[in-house]
Symmetry: C2
Subunit: 440 residues, 2 copies
């Protein structure tokens, strides 16, 4: 095998998607990796996969140089190659054309036996795949998932731009906990102790004072020891925060964001029928149910839940809630210190200007109107046993004209699960991190 | 003072930028914060700043309710307010119009004296500003800087999208060092030791195997104890990696990216003349100088530098290099283990397929063609004293057909410094982190 790692002056002329039967007779250089090689007597059929799809290469004795056919025949799946040749329209080829090669360059060959087949639609054990993630990601189902992920991000940013939001980045290394302490990873920061941010919450609130409408799409870190198909220790959060609005306006924004994401995913799937991904329909309005309403409905079933209890997946299933919907006006008690209380709640039943966006029993987003008065924040913090002094930098901003504001965080991986039907959140991210997994 | 934190059903009808003398007679509700209040006898002049700019409010006895005038007169800078009233064209007002108020809502007032004036163009001590960063960010100069930052990010992502790159996110919590060990922050990750990623290098290389063209714009973390106006401990890196190309192609990409950024910044400045920011010109081609050439030129001056030495800011100043330019083909020795050696280098003078993008004496980006052969990576790692075993997950990917690939990382904050003339990198980020600073 003659392997030549150097690209030299050789460059690709076409991606698979650029070619079709109409290009019959065109000279081309394609590059990618070997998906399959089959030998039928004097003919070798190879499939090369590139960024956009698959290309058939047919090396027939007499129609191409013998060395090209012999090297092609010897290649194992995954080898990285360039093929130069002529496009030939062919009704037998899956894409309606094949390439008759006259030159073949092998950039790197494969000696090892891959742990699973690149054409496998499913592989039983996700850990087997994760151990070889770069190879796993060559499977069609994941390629489609991650291209949809990229399109969704693009659509969401376009929404924010059109709506006049400014992109921000807030520090991931912080001196004190946002929500009060649990589930933080601690860091050695030079000679100090520090933490990884669970959320950009306090920073994005502060930035509404100047930029008014801000968004950040960035990693968040949670030391969650739960082993579930829905939790990651490192995830991407789509955060927005906006001045001079309340939680109802933020729900309207979420309708815009989810709508743009559904459209982007549907468009991708329409253009890639082999993706076999069923993107859910987007209703004109996402239904909004109050917590109170759902508790009432549950209490009419055999559920023993009481006002103030959390709503569990089993409860939501019992109510036959599916697709996207909001649960609004949650009890105030368990909410973080910065969530605003609804005026005029019943005695003993304080509620909050808050919501969760659900997809079936999966929580996708959580948001609220925020408190703007320093004294209210401080008394909430004390009630929750938080150290008010360690939030001095945050609290003092409230002395200088904090506007009314509201916002939310949307879990990108969970949104992607909802839009593509993924069963395990680990496949909604490239290299998942959880309590058991720190590699690769 | 009647303060009412509740927004209720009140909503903004116009931003400052939506209004002008043409809107004479229009009813409006604007919201923002008080920049200045001046009282001249029976007339109170207030300036309200919102996301887009400033609005003049003129409350004259008889022309508006007395309570509105009296409350407006009592407001301190930074108070958060809503004003409803009528637009009146006025050649005296800076924006050509003023608002005659009939209602005023104070969402939050200000008792404390701010540590610096909101209209100050410069504040002597950057630490004074950083301690009150949310208030500091209300100053025009920073508002413009951060809106330009947002536009640049948008332009760069548009470039990547147009060019067929897939957006990726790679883990920030990693088990071993990318570049060999120094300058890493260590974390407690459940029961294990882990680190914060200095770069997405190894992951983005792996992902070229499947997605071919990838980019990530995300935080990187470096425990740099140097106290300079150019170093941050947490920064945003614009990373790209591409299969089937070499370092020359990556330099072409950088020309596209810098060009798009310059265009975005210039467009912003043209539309915001008060920004007083001079964006540099973008040449059609960014000049490319080899390391060899610059060493030769230096040796013709009184410099004592020898082949193999680094090029210091003083050297670059001596050569009168300014604007954007590349330094290419650096000596191989100090380069990371994954950088490809140039074929046919002189004996004892091994060079690499590498480049730095400079702006004057500021390094903005560094990139190279990467090694694709596992054995070459392993021998480089051993030579550099790295533990090959701890990179097993990375190295084994190279057994399965790694394509030729190249890429670079661009420091967003440094690019923003180049484009806006900022002197200190701490003002190119919202909440800087350095050896001395972990708050706010």
């Amino acid at each position: 095998m003659v392997v030549n790692q150097d690209l030299g002056s050789l460059r690709r002329t076409h991606y698979s998607a650029d070619l079709g039967p109409d290009n019959d007779g065109v000279r081309t250089t394609v590059m990618g990796w070997i998906l399959t090689v089959r030998i039928h007597g004097n003919i070798t059929f190879a499939t090369i996969r590139d960024r956009d799809g698959d290309i058939s290469v047919v090396a027939k004795k007499g129609a191409c140089p013998d060395t090209v056919r012999s090297i092609l025949s010897s290649l194992k799946a995954h080898s990285s190659v360039a093929v130069s040749g002529t496009v030939k329209a062919s009704t037998k080829a899956p894409a309606g054309f094949e390439i008759i090669p006259d030159e073949l360059r092998v950039f790197s060959d494969v000696e090892a036996v891959p742990p699973f087949e690149p054409v496998a639609r499913t592989v039983k054990n996700i850990d087997t795949r994760l151990e070889m993630r770069p190879i796993d990601l060559r499977r069609s189902v994941l390629l489609h998932t991650f291209r949809i992920r990229s399109r969704i991000l693009q659509a969401i940013r376009a929404y924010f731009t059109t709506e006049g939001f400014t992109e921000i980045n807030t520090p991931k290394i912080i001196s004190s906990a946002t929500e009060g302490g649990a589930a933080l990873f601690s860091i050695f920061y030079y000679d100090k102790q520090a933490f990884l941010a669970q959320s950009p919450q306090l920073y994005k609130e502060q930035l509404t004072m100047s930029l008014e409408k801000v968004f950040e799409i960035a990693p968040i870190f949670r030391a969650e020891s739960s082993r579930t198909p829905r939790h990651l220790s490192e995830a991407i959060s789509i955060d927005l925060e906006e001045a001079f609005v309340d939680y109802n306006d933020v729900m309207n924004r979420i309708e815009g964001i989810v709508g743009a994401s559904v459209d982007a995913a549907r468009l991708y799937v329409e253009n890639h029928l082999d993706a076999e991904i069923a993107v859910p329909e987007m209703p004109d309005c996402i239904p909004r149910h109050t917590y109170e309403e759902l508790v009432g409905r549950l209490q009419k079933t055999d559920s023993k839940m009481e006002w103030g209890d959390d709503l569990y997946p089993s409860d939501l299933k019992r109510l036959k809630l599916d697709g996207f919907y909001f649960i609004t006006d949650w009890p105030l008690g368990p909410k973080p210190f910065y969530v605003k209380e609804t005026k005029g709640g019943d005695y003993g039943r304080s509620i909050s200007e808050s919501f969760d966006l659900m997809y079936g029993d999966l929580e996708i987003s959580s948001g609220s109107t925020r408190i703007t008065r320093r004294a209210d924040l401080e008394s909430n913090m004390r009630r929750k046993g938080m150290n008010v002094d360690s939030f001095g930098y945050h609290l003092r901003a409230f002395d200088y004209g904090m506007p009314p504001h509201a916002g939310c965080g949307i879990g990108l991986e969970r949104l992607l699960m909802a839009l593509t039907g993924l069963a395990n959140i680990r496949d909604a991210t490239f290299y998942p991190r959880d309590v058991d997994r720190l590699v690769p």
